[in-house]
């Protein structure tokens, strides 16, 4: 009847493992989470939940593929679940972490406006493409690992990345030239 739980690390070895899990992955989890939910506080919640899930499931991790890819698959799925839950429960569009208005963008300084344009362009991509861009272009994960982490074909990773990059580059270049 007693359940098998994995609680706070107590031994030195598991304490080190626990700290390494956070040190190695917290930032990249945050980037994936933020790209999906577009809200800083939610992204932090997702980091914490992902670390908890990964820590508890670590003993059962088979070790095939990279640990980074495995952790990011948990992060992406957790972030997508958060987003869907919010869409299901919130009827007020204002409560969803959506884009800023174009009027807001114009009020900002140029540098800030460039980032806001990029944020808008990123928000226009689907969740899968956003995660692919972050995993590849910011964290340098190999295509195959991204495909495994997101459970999609390799071709999907490449095509989504290409389309997403073209769209984002168009926005970034437009900002540079204005």
């Amino acid at each position: 009847m007693l359940r098998n739980r994995r609680a706070t690390p107590r031994t030195n070895a598991s304490e080190e493992q626990f700290q390494a899990l956070i040190a190695d992955h917290a930032e990249v989890i945050y980037r994936v989470a933020y790209s999906v939910v577009r809200d800083e506080h939610l992204a932090e919640d997702i980091v914490q939940e992902t670390i908890i899930k990964a820590w508890q499931a670590l003993p059962s991790w088979r070790g095939d593929g990279s640990l980074r890819g495995w952790v990011l698959s948990i992060a992406h799925n957790t972030a997508v679940s958060y987003l869907r839950r919010m869409r299901d429960t919130s009827t007020e569009p204002a409560r969803l972490p959506e884009r800023a208005s174009s009027a807001d963008v114009e009020r900002e300084t140029d540098a800030r406006a460039d980032l806001d344009r990029l944020r808008l362009a990123l928000a226009d991509l689907d969740e899968l493409s956003r995660s692919i861009v972050v995993m590849r272009d910011l964290d340098g994960l190999p295509y195959q690992q991204i495909a495994e982490a997101l459970d999609v074909p390799l071709a999907t990773v490449k095509t989504r990345l290409l389309r997403a990059r073209r769209e984002l580059q168009r926005v970034v270049e437009a900002g540079v030239h204005t």
Partner: protein, 103 residues
């Protein structure tokens, strides 16, 4: 752990077809790096400076709370089962006559 794997909205079959036509030009476009885009994305998605320490504190506390709650639930379960055993009437011993009949 893929317990939460939601279906994606994408047209993966169409992407698979696309791969057959994925020529060398596209591969080289894919391999090219765009530093401006990289810098902008890194800036946009930069985590807070104290993310690591905050995550560590919060996750450790959360695991501890879950562990304590779980232990409490286990103790309650064990206590309840013990009380049930104590309160339940003992099974009657088959008496000698019944033993004779069944024999």
């Amino acid at each position: 752990m893929n317990t939460e794997r939601p279906p994606f909205d994408g047209d993966c079959d169409r992407d698979r077809d696309f791969e057959r036509d994925f020529d060398a030009d596209l591969e080289s476009e894919l391999a090219a790096t765009d530093n401006v885009l990289h810098r902008s994305l890194a800036q946009l998605l930069a985590p807070p400076a104290d993310l690591e320490s905050r995550t560590q504190d919060h996750v450790a506390n959360s695991l501890m709370s879950r562990s304590l709650l779980g232990t409490g639930a286990d103790l309650l379960t064990v206590g309840w089962q013990t009380l049930r055993l104590m309160w339940s009437e003992p099974e009657p011993e088959p008496d000698a006559d019944e033993t004779e009949v069944t024999r």
